[in-house]
Structures are given as structure tokens and as C-alpha cells.
């Protein structure tokens, strides 16, 4: 086989797998059959394309092949009227023979996304199903990515598919009035996938790290399929802006490199440009939800030429806005850090003290780590050392303990002027940590506000997201009203 054909099949797998499976599920109503026939279709492509050439529309070719395979299989083991009905149902003209542009029916992949992310399924099942059916990862691959046994993952997938079938979870995009309640679940699953990959250490399995790429690919599909949902675009922008910094986040030892010390030359300029442009378009719709606000924060960081150029006042204000959208103590801790950068350590320390007094973050190492950092910058060495020790006792990973021990050594080193130290904040730690915590979670789209977009014109050089984000703040209670009764516990907060 020529390398060309191999490449074409591999590319088609990435691009078309989800579409083929989604269509086959719709026509056959069988999830397992759909997956098996999709697999057969790709195997057939490997056999035929070298001989017949690569088809002009590989997706259509593969869908037709999979459909024919399904008809064959159902005919062969057709037993009883039910099976025959299924075969009859497959005489619908294939949807994707028509061109993408004139397709009025909802894309099957969107049905599949909403069904995989149905709130009646456990979150871990939603994630696994999404990776299996939409991204085409195999069960062993998904098991490896989530550090569970293959059998456990296999059972999880089987149970989820059984529940969809037996409990009759519908295969459809929810009606418009349910979209505000259901869309956040889809966004949350994709963001969880992203965070799983993003927070994986440098030494982690490649499969685990590749989750970011899968998440970005699926977010692209979702953003394209839901052009009226700016949070979908916001999520894609957020992923791209985080991913742009990926190469510089960890040093060779796998330790976290604070953003101030990251080599900005190595940030991915193309991803930043794309992320910023996407965010721009989304924010202009005037419905800034938590993903857009987080993307705006990431964009502020990504578009600062040097660490010193970072627009901290704007970031602090954006975190303030985010805290109203996501009622989470972790978000408020981020807010405190940003305020400290904008107005000085004392102001941030005051906010951190409020959080400490409330006790919601008790046992969370990044609260004392933040306090320690701010105390250090205020020159209150002894108090800083005490807070570093408290954080050290709570820190869950060795990389974080190394970071904290280094800082502790700095503040306890006699005669070292605190002012001479770089102003390092712990935001990177918080960000890194957020991936693993089911807190601070953009599980709900907040503050949907249909009012017309304000005439905020932004300076292209200095992003002024605040104007766009803050303008929609007007609707009091809007955030609460849009919450779907908290029935879906969404994953992966990603405090930037």
C-alpha cells in the first residue's frame, strides 16, 4: 500500500469516524452494530482505496460502506420482525450524500454528542462514550487515558450503552427550550477531556496527553454545529489559548514553570491568533458565559508580550465577573491572586483572608500557598514561612511540594530581601490543579442575556474584553435562572 493511501485512511479516521458512527446509530438504532460496521468500513477502505483510488468524498464513501455492511449483517442474522423493520428503516437516503451546505437536518454528530452527554448517564460514562463513539478511541486507549483497567472501562461503556437502549434515552438534539440546560453538559465533558490531557505530566502516557487534541477536535465540531451558542466557540477559544502555552508549562524535570518565567517565544502564535479571533466573534454576541470569560482571561495572558505587560486590572475584573457566573471558592481564590497583581499584595491578602475565614477551602493547599506568596511579597517572611509549611503539608503532588520547598527556602534564607524575588504568583498551580477538581466548574451557562450587543469597539492592540463581558452583567439573577437545578455535576473547572 502506498503511504498516501495510509495517510488518507488515517486522516479519514480522524475526520469521519464520528460522523459514520453517528449516522449508523441513527439508521440502525444499535450502538454496537454502528461501531462494528464503522470499523469494517475503515478496514474495507484500507483494502479498496489502494486499488480504486481515494474517493472524492471519503466520508460519504465510508458511510455508504458501513451502511451496506449493517444491512448485510442484519439480513444475515435477521430473526423476527423487529430486525426486518430495522433493515427496512435503512432505506432512508443517506444524509451525507448531499453537500454539507444544503443540509437542513441536524448533523448526526450533534445528536450523538447530546446523547453521549445525557445527564441520565454518569459523568465518567459520558466521557468514555464520547471518546469511543465520537473520537474513535478504542476501549484500551480510553482505559489508559483515564488510568483504569481495560475491563473496568469496557464495563462502563457496555453499561452506558445498555442504559441508553433499555431506558430509552432519546437519540436527538434536545428541543430549543432544553438547550440552555443541556448544552453545558456537552461543553463540560469536552472541557474535562481537555483538562485530563492538559494536566497530565510530561512523563504521562502519550494517550493521556493526546486527550487535549481530541478535545480540541471535538470542540471544533461542536462550535461549527452550534453557531448560535457562543459558549461553544468560547470553549474552543479557551482550549486553544491554553494549548498555545503547552510547550512551556513544564520544565525538563516535569516541574511547573510559572507563567512569568515561561518562554513566550515558544508559545504557539497560530493558536493564540485563532483563539483570540474566535473569542472576539463569540463575545460580540453579548452572551458572555463562563467559558468566554475564562477564554478572555487566557487571552489577556496570551497577548501580553512580556509578563510585565500583563493587564492585571482587566484580569482581576474578569475573575470578579467569573465569580458571579461560577459560585466557587476556587474562582474567588484566583480573583484574590489577580487583585494582588493589579492592586498590590495587601489587597489580595485581604480577599484570601475572607476565604480562609469562610473555611470552604479548608485543606486546600493552594489557599495557604497563595497567602504565603502574598506575605512573602509584603516582606512578612516569618508569616510567609508558616504559610508555606502549611501548604507543604497539604500539597498532593511531589512537583508542587518541590515548588513550595524552593519558595520556603527562599523566604527563610537569612538576609535575602523579599523585594528582590520575582513576583511569582500561584495561579499556574491553581490552574493546573483545577483540572482534577470537580469544583469551580462551568457546569452551567450563566447570565444568558439576549440584549443587543453594546457598541464596544476594542483596540486591536490591547484586548479590552471587559467592556464586552461586563456589559452583560446587567441582568440580575439571570445566572441563577439559567441553572438547570444542579442535576448535572460537571467536571473540570479550569481556572486559568
Amino acid at each position: 500500500m502506498t503511504p498516501d493511501v495510509e495517510t488518507a485512511v488515517a486522516q479519514a479516521f480522524k475526520d469521519e469516524w464520528g460522523q459514520v458512527v453517528a449516522t449508523l446509530i441513527r439508521v440502525t438504532g444499535h450502538w454496537d452494530l454502528a461501531e462494528e460496521c464503522a470499523q469494517d468500513a475503515f478496514a474495507l477502505a484500507l483494502a479498496r482505496w489502494p486499488r480504486d483510488g481515494i474517493p472524492r468524498r471519503p466520508g460519504a464513501w465510508l458511510t455508504t460502506a458501513a451502511r451496506n455492511r449493517a444491512i448485510d449483517r442484519l439480513r444475515r442474522d435477521a430473526a423476527g420482525a423487529a430486525k426486518l423493520r430495522e433493515v427496512a428503516a435503512m432505506s432512508y437516503p443517506p444524509e451525507n450524500e448531499s453537500s454539507d451546505e444544503d443540509r437542513a437536518v441536524p448533523d448526526d454528530r450533534l445528536r450523538l454528542m447530546f446523547t453521549c452527554c445525557h445527564p441520565a448517564l454518569a459523568l465518567e460514562a459520558q466521557v468514555a462514550l464520547t471518546l469511543r463513539t465520537l473520537a474513535g478511541l478504542t476501549t484500551p486507549e480510553i482505559a489508559r487515558a483515564f488510568l483504569v483497567g481495560e475491563q473496568t472501562m469496557s464495563k462502563r461503556l457496555v453499561r452506558a450503552k445498555q442504559k441508553i437502549r433499555h431506558a430509552a434515552i432519546p437519540y436527538r438534539v434536545p428541543p430549543a427550550h432544553l438547550l440552555p440546560e443541556r448544552t453545558p453538559a456537552v461543553l463540560a465533558v469536552l472541557y474535562l477531556l481537555f483538562n485530563e490531557g492538559y494536566s497530565a505530566s510530561a512523563g504521562a502516557d502519550l494517550m493521556r496527553r493526546s486527550l487535549t487534541a481530541e478535545a480540541i477536535r471535538l470542540a471544533r465540531v461542536l462550535a461549527r454545529l452550534m453557531p448560535d451558542e457562543p459558549e461553544a466557540t468560547g470553549l474552543l477559544a479557551l482550549m486553544l489559548l491554553h494549548d498555545a502555552r503547552r510547550a512551556t508549562r513544564l520544565d525538563d524535570a516535569g516541574d511547573l514553570v510559572p507563567m512569568e518565567e515561561q518562554d513566550r517565544q515558544r508559545w504557539d502564535a497560530a493558536e493564540i491568533t485563532e483563539g483570540v479571533a474566535l473569542l472576539d466573534g463569540a463575545l460580540r454576541r453579548g452572551q458572555a458565559g463562563p467559558y468566554q470569560v475564562q477564554a478572555a482571561i487566557a487571552a489577556c495572558h496570551a497577548s501580553a508580550a512580556t509578563a510585565a505587560d500583563t493587564d492585571w486590572p482587566q484580569i482581576a475584573a474578569l475573575y470578579g465577573r467569573l465569580a458571579t457566573l461560577i459560585p466557587s471558592a476556587v474562582v474567588r481564590l484566583n480573583h484574590a491572586v489577580a487583585v494582588a497583581m493589579a492592586e498590590g499584595p495587601a489587597a489580595g491578602l485581604e480577599l484570601a483572608a475572607v476565604l480562609a475565614a469562610e473555611g470552604e477551602l479548608a485543606g486546600y493547599h493552594l489557599l495557604p500557598a497563595t497567602q504565603a506568596d502574598l506575605l512573602r511579597r509584603l516582606g512578612r517572611g516569618a508569616e510567609a514561612a508558616a504559610a508555606y509549611r502549611e501548604a507543604l503539608a497539604l500539597a498532593p503532588t511531589e512537583a508542587e511540594r518541590r515548588f513550595l520547598r524552593r519558595r520556603l527556602a527562599e523566604v527563610t534564607a537569612a538576609g535575602l530581601p523579599a523585594a528582590g524575588l520575582p513576583a511569582v504568583n500561584v495561579q499556574d498551580l491553581i490552574e493546573r490543579d483545577a483540572g482534577g477538581r470537580a469544583e469551580g466548574v462551568p457546569g452551567v451557562v450563566g447570565g444568558r442575556d439576549e440584549r443587543a450587543l453594546p457598541d464596544a469597539v476594542r483596540d486591536a492592540e490591547q484586548p479590552g474584553y471587559l467592556a464586552l463581558v461586563a456589559e452583560v452583567q446587567g441582568g440580575p439573577g439571570g445566572t441563577e435562572a439559567a441553572r438547570p437545578g444542579g442535576e448535572h455535576v460537571a467536571p473540570g473547572g479550569g481556572e486559568q
Partner: protein
């Protein structure tokens, strides 16, 4: 699809035993989705039966000693799980107890 709604609650739910379902059943019958609905006697008056090695074993009380007990059931017939959830959520017991939705196997 047919589903059974198992209405459950802890002891505090007993206070609602005489509440009825506030027009829910009338509405659901009119909609054509409610097939059957009954409240159950108190779990304290339940008798649990097992036959082991040809011996009949009788226990006083419900089979599961949990805080939440089944207080009643409804059988509904509707399009899919989403409609079932919508129907269950309207039942007044959802406001103070819990409602478990179980699909009935096809006959």
C-alpha cells in the same frame, strides 16, 4: 416505552401520605400517559418472604432496611426517558421525596 415510577421517601415523607398528588394524576390521565398508580401501606406493616431449601421464611418489615422506603408507584407510558423525567418531576412527591424511574421490560 413503559416506566414504573417508584415513589420513595424517608419518615418525614409520611406526613404527606394523605396529600394525594394535587391533580397530577388527573392531568397525566388526560394526557394519556398514566396507566396505573397506587400508594402502598406503611413499610412497618410489610411482610417479606423468602423460600430457602424448601423452607418458607417470613420476616416482619421491608426487605431493605434503609431510611428511604417505597411509598407508592405509578406506571406510565411515554416516548422516552426525557418525557418520563418530565412527568416524574411534576409529581408532588418529587418535591419532598425521591422518584426512581425504572423501565419496564417489554412483554
Amino acid at each position: 416505552m413503559k416506566y414504573m415510577l417508584l415513589i420513595g421517601g424517608d419518615e418525614s415523607a409520611a406526613a404527606h401520605a394523605g396529600d394525594g398528588c394535587g391533580g397530577w394524576d388527573t392531568e397525566m390521565r388526560r394526557r394519556g400517559v398514566l396507566k396505573d398508580a397506587r400508594g402502598l401501606g406503611p413499610p412497618a406493616e410489610a411482610t417479606t418472604v423468602r423460600v430457602r431449601a424448601d423452607r418458607l421464611l417470613r420476616t416482619d418489615g421491608p426487605f431493605a432496611e434503609t431510611k428511604e422506603q417505597i411509598a407508592g408507584y405509578c406506571v406510565i407510558e411515554c416516548a422516552d426517558l426525557e418525557e418520563a423525567v418530565e412527568i416524574a418531576a411534576r409529581h408532588p412527591a418529587a418535591g419532598y421525596g425521591v422518584i426512581e424511574i425504572r423501565a419496564l421490560w417489554p412483554q
